[in-house]
Amino acid sequence: MTWGIMIVLILLLLFVFALLTLGEGLLKVAASQSGADASDYSVIPNSLGNMFTAAKTKPAYVPAGKNIRHLSRGFNINLEGIANSKSVIEPLRMSRYSIKPTDFIGMSPMPKLLVEIGSQVKAGQALFFDKKRPEIIYAAPISGELIEVRRGEKRMITEVTILADQSDIQYFQYENIPSLATASRDEIVKFLLSSGAWPFIRQRPFDIVANENDTPKAIFVSTFDSAPLAPDLNLAVAGKEEAWAKGLEVLAKLTASKVHVGLNSASDNSPASAYINSDKIEGVETHWFSGPHPSGNVGIQIHHIDPVLSGSSVWYTDVHGVILIGTLLLKGTFDTERVVALAGTELAPKYVRVHQCANVEGLLSNMNPDFADEKIWTKDETGKKVKKDLPVRKIRIISGDVLSGIQIERNGSLGFYDDQITTVKEGNYYEMFGWLIPATGHPSMSRTFPAALFSDISYVADTNTNGEKRAFVMSGEYESVLPMDIYPQHVFRAIMCNDIEKMEGLGILELGEEDVALCEFVCTSKQPLQKLLREGLDTLRNS
């Protein structure tokens, strides 16, 4: 009997060896055919070290004496269609700019409009305010004519549209711009509130526009976006270094503690020197992070530096917010121009320079039609099943990234905080045995796919859910992509049970939708986690 087993084992070994050799050969042939260096490709890892640990070296651009926080948990989704930063970024002027009150969490459905339809507005002129928080002014991103106030269900205001001036922008003139050297904190706050710059400052918990009556524990700015196809934020600060520094100075006045700037040490390229030198400003500290997405999320950085606690709040803004505030105090102009990445496989990826809330139609002129007729099984008037030509969405346009952006129509506009438009294929197709075949061409964190062995494959993503919604079954998935000391699955269970005390105890206040977006992506059970989290946060906010 033992002889039989020995023979079987030896045969098995030989078979595995033959398989490996064959695989190695085929891989090298394929590599050389596609023009790559065949020696870079092997089915056998070239060193044990490569298999288990990623190199943790300190890049040359990190200044001496600075520590790097390595976040090992997370996942980079490699997608095709990343915008190329090498060419010159053209400034473009769209015809329409729409500011959407729905971008602000917790805003009442009908904000009070301050300008009548048909009248001219200047960039920075007050457009509307939330009746619940009348101090905070929302300003026009560009000068022009207010042409439309679009309303949704229950007369809720969804879009306020400006027909932009195509010539020079008329900037709103402020009466007294405070000087940083002499002004008190209150004066600065008052100016930011009335000038329309305040909505750029948001707070954790809840991701709402910061409460002007609070003094935050700290203020955070992340200078890199690790989300899939995200823009390179070094481009955003190029040429605006002075405004960036000024903006940080303003923020440093607003907190009793520090302004923390998060920097990326995982990239081959150095962050812009303006970012690196932020800590030369009084009250500003820099922190280096390395690791896969979501290391660039400000929520993750807050958690590791100065976490949100019950009864306290932390403020944050993005690079564009800092630059806008800086420009406002330097030049007295409300300049919302920002670098926006057009990414995704459905258009030619590039960067453009447009103002905030730009209508995207003009940017997508070269994109294929997003609808196409397709034969679909439907029921006719008599209830009989027939095949009919119906328009089917082929391309999805997203304001923001694929993980936490919002779908917009082709004539929609960029969100208030967004600096990225992503296009993905719509995934409304059937795939035979799609759940079984080992290579699907879809990104996945799972090791059940052979593609998991090769980390540098990039994918053409589509919006198919790749399976149906189920109850929570797997455990440990969410933890593996959330580099925080939080038990996400239990947070979600607490939300489902409406257990307010537990939600708060488990750290829901530290979480934002973008932080759990990756959990939602990897979720085997296809649960809508971001929606769930928002429900939980709303319950807490309203309680």
Partner: protein, 431 residues
């Protein structure tokens, strides 16, 4: 495209709930549905879904099925004392194994999936995949000769009371496969414990081989080719006991040596060698005997990260700690079995790889998983070695820990909560 048109044409009306649930289950088996993500939230989803997770587990246990099938036949012929080399009359062993196993497999799926479909239709949601893994596991943990009606009853009990009563896949508190086994264990103990149930096809009262029509219908076929056939009424060997290594261990420990001659006269080693126990040539439940097959399954589950290494590792540590303790203690015969040989006996490895790692019934937190696995190892060894009536413990240990897993998690969660609360209090004091 033509195939999908066929499916769309035969789609039953939504009002016919059972037919529609059945259709939906089959349709989603053939096609990944065309569902897309909503306009808010993530726009792309991971290619992984529950179906793929479940099929990975089922794939991982396929070798256990193959070896288990052959072993049913092998054990049967060992008891008869003919064809004792495993490759001798291999066709008889394979056919015998298949005739025993296939009905078990079919009944498990028919009964279990029938209940699943019924409840899915009643609740108006899709048929969930959870039972596919349970249905693949149940035959492997049954004795080869388990009566089919008993099997059906146990599955009805497990699926309805253990799963559907709690809300379906993902909501169950205890492992469904083990619940069905424990039902037989308590309701019909003689069919699943003791020395008699582990070898199929024997008439123990008359001490002869006992085949049914399922086996005998192959005889003409084999005769026509000139191969050996099933001999109904072939006598069993004289000193046949049917005892598993566990029973022998309980009776007289690892080895009893005659002090005069140095010969082994009792204990496990008198009947089975350590290698034999590892390779699977021993009586036992269908899938639990061949350890290399189970380990291969374990490697698949670990490499694909479907199962938690934390549970497996801490389970093994728990067993080792308890085994060492017993080796030192030496209070009974059973305690002198070397701790590492416990891994080769009974259902330990199968429980470690496939049962304890069930993500739904295990602890959910990473720290909790370590404790959960460790405590299964400890309790399982205690039940296996110290229990006077039943020389195996994993089924009971895992069921106990299934019930206590939420408690283990509770402590971990409370630790996290109190840490956060303390930090908040400190901050409030400081400011």
């Amino acid at each position: 495209m033509a195939f999908i048109d066929f499916w769309k044409k035969i789609e039953p009306k939504k009002e016919n709930k059972f037919a529609h649930a059945t259709f939906d289950a089959l349709f989603t088996f053939f096609f990944k549905p065309n569902l897309t993500t909503s306009g808010k939230g993530v726009h792309i989803r991971d290619a992984m879904d529950l179906k793929r997770t479940m099929i990975m587990v089922v794939l991982a246990m396929q070798l256990c099925y193959v070896v288990g099938t052959v072993n049913i036949g092998y054990q049967h012929f060992l008891a008869l004392g003919v064809n004792t080399n495993i490759f001798e009359a291999f066709h008889l062993k394979l056919v015998f194994g298949l005739v025993q196993l296939l009905p078990i497999f079919v009944v498990t799926h028919l009964v279990g999936l029938g209940i699943e479909f019924y409840f899915a239709a009643r609740r108006g949601h899709a048929v969930e995949e959870g039972f596919l893994v349970s249905a693949a596991l149940i035959p492997l943990i049954m004795p080869p000769g388990v009566p089919l009606w008993m099997l059906a009853l146990s599955i009805i009990f497990a699926v309805i009371l253990g799963k559907e009563a709690f809300g379906g896949t993902g909501m169950n508190v205890v492992n469904i496969a083990l619940l069905s086994r424990v039902f037989i264990f308590f309701a019909y103990p003689t069919y699943i414990s003791g020395d008699t149930p582990w070898i199929a096809g024997l008439d123990l009262d008359n001490k002869v081989a006992d085949y049914n029509w399922g086996h005998l219908m192959f005889n003409p076929l084999f005769e026509s080719i000139g191969w050996s056939t099933f001999q109904d009424g072939h006598p069993i060997i004289a000193n046949f006991s049917g005892a598993t290594p566990l029973a022998l261990g309980y009776q007289s420990g690892w080895a009893v040596t005659d002090p005069a001659t140095g010969e082994i006269t009792g204990g496990i080693l008198s009947q089975f060698s350590a290698l034999q126990m590892w390779m699977g040539g021993i009586p036992g439940s269908i899938g639990e005997t061949c350890k290399p097959a189970i380990i291969l399954g374990g490697i698949i589950l670990l490499a694909t990260r479907v199962a938690s290494w934390r549970v497996m590792l801490s389970f093994a540590i728990g067993v080792a700690v308890m085994g060492l303790l017993f080796n030192v203690w030496q209070a009974t015969h059973y305690m002198n079995v070397p701790w590492y040989h416990h891994f080769g006996m009974g259902g330990l490895l199968f429980a470690l790889v496939f049962m304890a790692t069930d993500p739904v019934t295990a602890a959910q937190t990473n720290t909790g998983k370590l404790w959960y696995g460790f405590l299964i190892g400890v309790f399982g060894m205690m039940i296996r070695v110290m229990n006077p009536a039943y020389a195996e413990g994993w089924m009971l240990a895992i069921l106990i820990m299934n019930v206590f897993a939420p408690l283990v998690d509770h402590f971990v969660i409370e630790g996290n909560i109190s840490k956060r609360m303390k930090r908040a209090k400190q901050y409030a004091k400081g400011s």
